[in-house]
Structures are given as structure tokens and as C-alpha cells.
């Protein structure tokens, strides 16, 4: 294209203005990238959710326990393949800023249901045999340097006391989307201590995880499970793992929703920044565009000239912004408490969205100036002083 040179020269006519515009877009794209990364990290749990798993919890709230006795009954519901259960143990490891899930689970079945946690058979056996053994995810194993045989000291809060667990297994993640930050140990061990330390709290199960044979029948199985305990002291609410996590996110994620909304507000801001620059430029060049038309340049040429300049600036801004996103997300991830998000990476879709948005913005921002340039009659354009 022969007017390419003119596009470049036009774009850098006001170097400072262009630089500021590129920078403005870059900052916005970076903010967009960061917000989306947080947003997708928050939602990563949903993608991990298996369609063939139901979660059965107390109908009032996830924080109320269910009786251990439910296990047998749930197991007998038609369509149920296997049932396991877990308690949210929490506790403090080192200090309160170390976030990773610490769960008391049924050692015999937990890893059978969570097939995405890959545990070598010998480690699995070792784990099952020892009362106070635990298994940690590869991600936290790497973060905290856990090795087999290490003792992990945890100060209980929900379940008071000092707790010691021996690492007997480190599970690998089946793929990138799997949470590698769980620490699990024997529910039996917890239950025994409760029996002696806090009678009345023994036999409590946080929630049941129900593996079903046919994901298509999840609604049916769920209602059958819930029907078993209807009108009992502890009614259950059973739903798919995905729905369960969604409700979890809904409860804690208002800010995240705001972030998602903000990320699109930012696109609007880029649009205004670039639109403003392009409109100023087009105004100043009213006479030049009229001269070009006089010389025989067509509407198509002007579209290319103005649209090209707008795209050039927006793509430059997007490029710089994307490059800035990587170190910024790194810094942000480092500033977050460890394990706050099980998965915290810049998704390709985030970058694609950022670049696509920038291109859309580039095109959109040039519409008004193009309209103006095309709509101005030559004789009026030539008379323009500005």
C-alpha cells in the first residue's frame, strides 16, 4: 500500500500526543489483562469441576456438618457409584497468609473419586496405612519444599489443638486446570481426636462427594439423595460440583464480578482515549484531507489512511500493554498470599481478548473521523482554517 508511509508519518506527527495515547491504551490493556487474569483464576475452579460428581452438603449452609451415618444411605441410591467425604479443616500453617486447602478426607476413597489427582500406588498405600499421614499437591510441595517424610505442623482453629502430619504422598495434577494446592489427611484421625477432645463433634462430615454413573442423571440422583433426608435434623442440598462451586463463587465473588465489569469499562476508556486523539487529528487535518481528495484520492484511500493510523496506534498500545501484563501479573501473584488462587496464569484467551478489543477500538475510534473526512465537501474542507 503506497500510503503506508503517510500513515506512519501521520501517526507520529504529534509525537507526545501519540506516545501518551499509546501509553494510555497500554495501561488500559494491562489493567484489562490483570483483571481478567484474576477473574479467570477465580473461575478456574469451575473448569476443574467434573460433571459426574455431586456435592451433598447441609441445606442451610456449607459450614454446618452432616452426620457420618448418611454415607451408607447415599451409597445405596441407584446411580451412585462411589461416595467419599471431606471436612474443611483449615488451621494455620506458619501464618495466616498461607492459603491452601487443608481437608480431612476419607483416605480409602478420596483419591478414587478425585481421579485427576495422580498419586503413585506406593505412596497411596503408605498414606492409607498411617493414621496421621497426609498427601500434598505438587504445587504446594514445590512452594513449601515438602518432601516425603516431612512433618507438617498445623495449629488448629476450627478444630483446636496442635496437629502434626507426615507427608506420605505428593499428588501430581492430571493437567493444568487441576488444583495442585490441596493438603489432605485422614478424616479418621480428626474424628478420633474429636471423640476425646470435643465429644459431640465426632461423627461430623463436612460434605459428601458423590460419584455418579451417568452425568446426565445428576438432577435425578441429587433429588433422590435429598429426599432421603427430607424433614430430618440435617437436610441435605445436593448439586453438581460445578453448581456447588458456582454458588461458592457467587457468595464470595461480588468483587470479582465487579472486576469483570470493570475490565469492560476499561475497553470503553481506551475507546475514548483513542477516539479523542483521532478526532483531534482529523479536525486538524480537515484541509489536508480536502487537498488529498482534490488530487484525486478516493474515499477508500482516506478510510485506509485514517483507519490505518487508528489501528497502528491501538495495536502499538495493545502490544506494549500485553508485554507489560506478564511482569505485572507476576508481581501481583507474588504479592498475593501463597495459594490464594489454585491456578493463576494469564490465559491465552485473555490476551486474545485484549488484542481483539484493541483492534475493535482502533476500528471504532476511526469511524467518526472517517465519516467527517468523507462527509466534508472539498470546497468546505479547503476553506477550513484550523
Amino acid at each position: 500500500m503506497r500510503v503506508l508511509k503517510l500513515i506512519f508519518k501521520n501517526a507520529f506527527r504529534h509525537k507526545l500526543r501519540t506516545l501518551l495515547t499509546v501509553l494510555g491504551i497500554a495501561i488500559a490493556v494491562t489493567a484489562f489483562g490483570l483483571l481478567r487474569t484474576v477473574y479467570t483464576a477465580w473461575h478456574a475452579g469451575l473448569d476443574m469441576a467434573a460433571p459426574d460428581r455431586l456435592i451433598s452438603r447441609h441445606s442451610v449452609s456449607f459450614i454446618f456438618p452432616l452426620p457420618y451415618a448418611y454415607l451408607d444411605k447415599i451409597q445405596r441410591v441407584p446411580g451412585v457409584e462411589m461416595v467419599t467425604y471431606a471436612n474443611w479443616f483449615q488451621g494455620v500453617y506458619i501464618d495466616k497468609n498461607q492459603f491452601f486447602a487443608r481437608l480431612a478426607v476419607d483416605a480409602k476413597t478420596y483419591f478414587e473419586v478425585y481421579r485427576e489427582f495422580l498419586l503413585p500406588p506406593d505412596q497411596y498405600e503408605a498414606f492409607k496405612k498411617e493414621r496421621n499421614a497426609c498427601v500434598v499437591g505438587e504445587t504446594i510441595a514445590r512452594q513449601y519444599g515438602f518432601k516425603l517424610g516431612d512433618v507438617v505442623n498445623i495449629t488448629g482453629d476450627i478444630y483446636p489443638g496442635d496437629w502434626q502430619f507426615v507427608v506420605r504422598g505428593i499428588y501430581q495434577r492430571r493437567d493444568e486446570t487441576v488444583d495442585g494446592t490441596q493438603m489432605v489427611f485422614h478424616w479418621e484421625y480428626l474424628n478420633e481426636r474429636m471423640r476425646t477432645d470435643a465429644p459431640g463433634r465426632d461423627g461430623d462430615v463436612g460434605w459428601y462427594i458423590v460419584k455418579i454413573a451417568d452425568p446426565n442423571r445428576s438432577a435425578e440422583v441429587s433429588s433422590q439423595v435429598d429426599a432421603l433426608f427430607a424433614n430430618s435434623r440435617a437436610e441435605t442440598k445436593t448439586e453438581t460440583e460445578r453448581a456447588f462451586q458456582q454458588s461458592f463463587i457467587a457468595a464470595t465473588g461480588t468483587i470479582v464480578t465487579a472486576m469483570n465489569f470493570l475490565s469492560f469499562v476499561i475497553i470503553g476508556i481506551i475507546m475514548l482515549v483513542l477516539g479523542n486523539t483521532m478526532i483531534m487529528s482529523a479536525r486538524e487535518r480537515t484541509r489536508e484531507y480536502a487537498v488529498l481528495k482534490t488530487l484525486g484520492f478516493s474515499g477508500g484511500h482516506l478510510v485506509g489512511l485514517i483507519g490505518g493510523e487508528s489501528l497502528l496506534i491501538s495495536i502499538a498500545g495493545a502490544g506494549v500493554g500485553v508485554l507489560l501484563t506478564f511482569p505485572l501479573v507476576e508481581v501481583f501473584a507474588a504479592a498475593l498470599p501463597k495459594g490464594f488462587f489454585p491456578v493463576f496464569t494469564i490465559e491465552p484467551i485473555t490476551l486474545t481478548l485484549a488484542v481483539l478489543s484493541a483492534i475493535t477500538v482502533g476500528v471504532t475510534a476511526s469511524i467518526f473521523p472517517i465519516q467527517r473526512a468523507l462527509g466534508t465537501r472539498i470546497v468546505d474542507g479547503l476553506r477550513h482554517v484550523g
Partner: protein, 222 residues
């Protein structure tokens, strides 16, 4: 048959609700190779008439026929093509593109042709040599004097070898010496390169360089 035939042309500008009649039923013939000066008081319609002849505006009534083509009937894009093929433009305020060098400014109209890069370069260098600026090719407009800028604009006007050159007060913004250079150049384009020239001017001294002087008064030729 004259090269340029303006036939019963009227031009009315609409401004909001009321209309401003600028040209009334005006006819004018300009033979090929002529150098015409259009004179007249401010607001008499000189620029308007020039724009109609050059095909950058359309008459409200009447026809403008150039070399047998009734340009008032051409479509917008056909008219643009026609201008680029037939007309060279010289403006009072030069109207160079400030971010392009003298060379690139002169090359601009050639970008619309099929000429190769080498061919364009040859033509641009020739045009700049004609106006005496062979040594200023890579200067930007703001590095040139007003007279030099206008000579670059003249080079741009002749680089496509057009039939007709229209000039709207080409010396209006220049000092005496520069104006003299520009007028000499235009006279040369007429005599040596056989260009038909229509020049609007206020300046009687400038008008003397033309062969024919026509006067406009309130939209009528007198």
C-alpha cells in the same frame, strides 16, 4: 471548440435556511493553451468559478464541459479520477502535507497512477528541477520559505503532466520577489509546456502576466 466551456452556469450556496446565489447564468470559453486571469472583488465568485472548472464543486445549474466531457454529469469517483488525470492545482496557502518532504509531496499525485517507483522518482526529480528546487528535495515544508513551498506546490501540480492548471491566488501570500518567481514559472509552464492556465488573482500586476483577463462582479463576467 474551446478546451473549457462553461455554459449558463449558476451556483447557489445553501446556508441553513437561506440561499446565497454566487454565480448567475455565467458562460465562459477558454481555448487550449490560454493563460487566463480571473479578477474581481472579494466575494465576487472567483474561487467558486475556478472550483467548478476544476471539478471540485458542481454547478447548481448549467454545464462545465472540458475537452468534450461534461464533468457536471460525472459520478464522484469518476470526477476524482478525472481531476487526477487532467488538473493540476495551485492554492494560495500551498497546502503541502507538512509531514512529507518536498519529494514526497510532489510524488503524492503519482501514487494514484500505475507508474513504477523508478518512473515516479524520475518524474518527481524532473518537476522539482523545473521549479528550481532540485537541491531541496528532502526538505520538509517548514524548512522552506513561502516562495519555495509554492514552487513545490507547482511541481506537484505539473508532475502528472495535466492538461489544465488552476491556481487560486498563487501569489496572494508571497512577497514581491517570490511572487515574481512564481509568476515567471507559470508563464513558462504556459509557453514552454503548453499548459492551459486559469489563475485567480487580486493583483493587477500578476494578472498582466496572463494573456487574457476576465473580471467577475457579483457573480457576472464583465
Amino acid at each position: 471548440m474551446s478546451l473549457i466551456q462553461v455554459r449558463n452556469v449558476a451556483k447557489v450556496y445553501k446556508r441553513d435556511t437561506f440561499e446565497v446565489p454566487v454565480l448567475n447564468n455565467l458562460s465562459l470559453d477558454i481555448p487550449e493553451g490560454e493563460f487566463v486571469a480571473l479578477m474581481g472583488p472579494s466575494g465576487s465568485g472567483k474561487t467558486t468559478l475556478l472550483n467548478l472548472i476544476a471539478g471540485i464543486d458542481r454547478p447548481t445549474k448549467g454545464n462545465v464541459v472540458v475537452k468534450g466531457t461534461d464533468i457536471s454529469t460525472l459520478s464522484e469517483s469518476a470526477l476524482a479520477q478525472w481531476r487526477s488525470d487532467n488538473i493540476g492545482f495551485i492554492f494560495q496557502f500551498y497546502n503541502l502535507i507538512p509531514v512529507l518532504t518536498a519529494f514526497e509531496n510532489v510524488e503524492l499525485p503519482l501514487l494514484l497512477t500505475k507508474l513504477s517507483r523508478a518512473e515516479r522518482k524520475k518524474r518527481v526529480e524532473f518537476a522539482l528541477a523545473v521549479v528550481g528546487l532540485g537541491d531541496r528535495m528532502y526538505h520538509y515544508p517548514k524548512q522552506l520559505s513561502g516562495g519555495q513551498e509554492q514552487r513545490v506546490a507547482i511541481a506537484r501540480a505539473i508532475v502528472t503532466d495535466p492538461l489544465i492548471i488552476v491556481a487560486d491566488e498563487p501569489t496572494g501570500d508571497l512577497d514581491r520577489t517570490s511572487a515574481e518567481e512564481v509568476l515567471t514559472l507559470m508563464a513558462r509552464l504556459n509557453s514552454e509546456f503548453k499548459k492551459t492556465i486559469v489563475m485567480v488573482t487580486h493583483d493587477p500586476h500578476a494578472a498582466q502576466r496572463a494573456h487574457v483577463q476576465r473580471h467577475l462582479e457579483k457573480g457576472d463576467l464583465v
